[in-house]
């Protein structure tokens, strides 16, 4: 008892419920985390959309500033990340609809469904960027 007393020298930290770092990584876990990370990323990335719309609605000079940024290396990198985050969140969201309906929670569909999210979001990102470079 002495070791847990408040102010005692050998005070142990209070026990916490198990968290992420004790589990072996699985694809479903990675997709779940990625869904939240891309969600937060899109939350911040949407500022780029607001900048685009406000610049386009003001005048050519404001739009030139936005255009210069988005055509720069950093701008393209951010836009590529935004595209991937958008499709990852979209595909992962569709997966959640399937899970909500009660399907794909167990073998054999559970892991393929999660991998399909990875594959589809990567493929859609690449397709959109290929189209983007082709029509530009």
């Amino acid at each position: 008892m002495a070791s847990t007393e408040l102010g005692g020298k050998a005070q142990r930290p209070r026990p916490l419920s198990p968290h992420l770092d004790i589990y072996r990584w699985s694809v479903t876990m990675a997709i779940s985390i990625a869904h939240r990370v891309t969600g937060v990323g899109l939350y911040i990335g949407v500022l780029l959309l607001a900048w685009f719309l406000l610049a386009l609605s003001s005048d050519a000079a404001s739009f030139a500033v936005f255009s210069a940024f988005i055509h720069s290396f950093i701008g393209r990198l951010v836009l590529f990340g935004f595209t991937f985050a958008l499709f990852q969140h979209l595909m992962s969201g569709l997966r959640h609809f399937i899970l909500d309906a009660g399907y794909g929670l167990d073998e054999p569909l559970r892991d393929p469904l999660a991998w399909a999210v990875v594959g589809c979001s990567a493929a859609l990102t690449l397709i959109v960027w290929v189209i983007g470079y082709a029509v530009r």
Binding site: L47, A50, L56, I131, G132
Partner: protein, 127 residues
């Protein structure tokens, strides 16, 4: 005389689930998500159509009814969706006053962003 009159207020609600807004939030999160599936496709298509255009042509394109309405719906559903989503992230990681302030800033940010985008789209269409 109803049997409930002899039960405490806590006893009456125990087991009935949360008394707050969790279910409504979860439902609105999914409703906006469903709307955002076709809207995201439309949003990306409109953006791709804008890529080859200069300032004036892009402004004219986004000033047309269909692209403008797709953008408006995308921004409105998106702002609401991200507000609910960030709410649950904040509740997971922040506590006490920090949580309350973060929730306020979150609502304000989502609302301001939505208004700014709607204003810009309207201005592109009408000015």
């Amino acid at each position: 005389m109803s049997r409930n009159q002899y039960r405490t207020p806590l006893g009456q609600v125990r087991g009935l689930g949360s008394a707050r807004n969790g279910t409504g939030e979860a439902y609105h999160q999914r409703l906006t998500a469903l709307l955002l599936v076709p809207l995201t496709v439309g949003f990306v298509c409109v953006l791709l159509a804008l890529l080859s255009k200069d300032y004036n042509a892009a402004r004219a394109e986004l000033g047309r009814p269909f692209p403008a309405i797709v953008f408006l719906l995308f921004v409105l559903a998106g702002a609401y969706h991200m507000e609910i989503g960030m709410r649950s992230v904040i509740r997971d990681y922040l506590h006490g006053h920090q949580r309350e302030w973060a929730l306020i800033v979150n609502t304000l940010f989502a609302f301001a962003l939505g208004v700014a985008c709607v204003y810009a789209i309207a201005r592109i269409g009408f000015v």
